[in-house]
Symmetry: C2
DNA sequence: CAACCCGGTTGGGCATGGCGCAACGACTCT
DNA sequence: AGAGTCGTTGCGCCATGCCCAACCGGGTTG
């Protein structure tokens, strides 16, 4: 509708970790706009401190004010604040990297984490996205959505076999989700990355609906499936219960909206 | 310049931790716009997934895509990635909450942290802002800017006495900065909040300029000034040196730009 | 040393985007 | 049942912001 707004945000979104800075020409090329147009938008964003301009190198980079935006968003979710201490405790109990994420369409978005250093290849941080279908938290979150909705959002997703164990068919995914609903937790065994196994549990808020998920990741070389289920799973479920309580969940399960 | 862009961002910025959701009328009131105008902008942002709209409650809240924006910005700084492990180590060595921040005008902006739970009253998180003049990291960062620039940015700041010990005059601040430059570290003793004492050290990158600061906070009730300086300060300075190295600093100090 | 080229910045003129206003429909509260 | 509130939509006018094109400055090349 408001085109100029869309364009402006396109500018901010043009930066990513591969292209942390852009020159004006690069920006114009990337967006497909006229140079003058790109200049106006860049200047406006600089004026508003959402973009910074280095006069020496003539390059733009996102301003710190953008960070602020992101975090007011995080805090408006109100999830991470109250659960961080429990996440911390879970990390200490398990020693593995622990994460918390919410579902957004067919992706999961990380909202909190606690880890020494990343044992996985993929660098994760709050705001990062991963496909839901091949992650433990993603499956847990999908498992608590109506199947019709799952099918609808998965329609736009190419189920890539990241590893030989990745679920690549809707049928297989459906079976996984069914099991997760029954078990109350979900596991992905090297579906995203070989050598990494994760278990995840749902988090509920005051409404009783599942609003987020928490997980623990382990290296297959160090923790067997048996150990994972006998030792770490109870700790995960305990933490999840306390986190749900912190979010106002009173104990009455309500089937997902 | 591009008014519609400014307006759109105003919408996103209208949300904060006190007002995590807004109805259309509230938004219109808060921005001072016509309802129709507010509606157009809100709809556009929803369309772009930067805003979410709950049809049941008829309220808007920032979308998860905003988080993404913020974090590409963080990673484009490239500070937190490489220094996080060292920050982690410093946390374990000192036991106190440790933070990392950069300077933005007269504010400091937190870019990384490691803490069990907040011992300070004020809830901090990446993206949060605090005034530079009454924080240890802020003073360290100001100390490495030209005095003219400091005076210029401080012109717009009311130096509020948050506690009886807060520096409230430019002269006092100047003296503090002078001492910090000489000592190579900075301390604030209960200047922002009674009962909390912090020390901070500058971080340099490959260019030799000071680009960020790292600090350790302690409770006055538990750690004396002597202990802080004899025990924690060497650990802080050691971590700062390693963090600077991780950022590419080769050891040659260059006076701030 | 001059000619050129490329990236950034600025001006003008036209079209359309977007703003204010006002009416409308749905819902709630009294 | 009426009145008030809130969200949504249509209309018409105005100015915003887009395209194009010229201009400028710096670096490079013949």
């Amino acid at each position: 509708m408001v085109r100029s707004l869309a364009r402006g945000l396109e500018v901010l979104a043009a930066f990513d970790r591969d292209t942390p800075t852009l020159s004006l020409s690069e920006l114009a090329a990337r967006t497909g706009w006229n140079k003058g147009t790109a200049y106006r938008f860049a200047s406006t964003l600089v004026e508003l401190s959402y973009l910074e301009h280095d006069p020496a190198t003539k390059r733009y980079r996102p301003g710190l004010k953008v960070l602020e935006l992101g975090f007011t968003c995080l805090s408006s979710l109100g999830l991470a604040d109250r659960t961080q201490p429990i996440l911390e405790q879970l990390f200490r109990e398990t020693g593995g990297p622990v994460h918390m994420a919410v579902l957004d369409g067919s992706d999961i978005v990380y909202v909190a984490r606690r880890a020494d250093r990343s044992l996985t290849q993929i660098q994760l941080y709050a705001g990062a996205r991963l496909p839901a279908y091949c992650t433990s938290m993603g499956k847990v979150l999908l498992a608590h959505r109506p199947w019709d909705e799952v099918r609808a959002v998965m329609r736009g997703v190419r189920m890539q076999p990241h590893t030989p164990r990745t679920a690549t068919t809707l049928a297989r995914l459906g079976a996984d989700l069914e099991r997760i609903r029954h078990d109350g937790y979900g596991m992905t065994d090297q579906e995203l990355e070989l050598g990494v196994r994760s278990i995840a549990a749902p988090l509920r808020d005051a409404t009783g609906g599942v609003v987020a998920a928490v997980n623990v990741s382990t290296l297959t070389a160090r923790v067997s499936v048996d150990q994972l289920l006998s030792d770490l799973l109870p700790k995960l479920l305990g933490a999840a219960a306390r986190m749900s309580a912190a979010l106002g969940y009173a104990g009455k399960e309500v089937r997902a909206v």
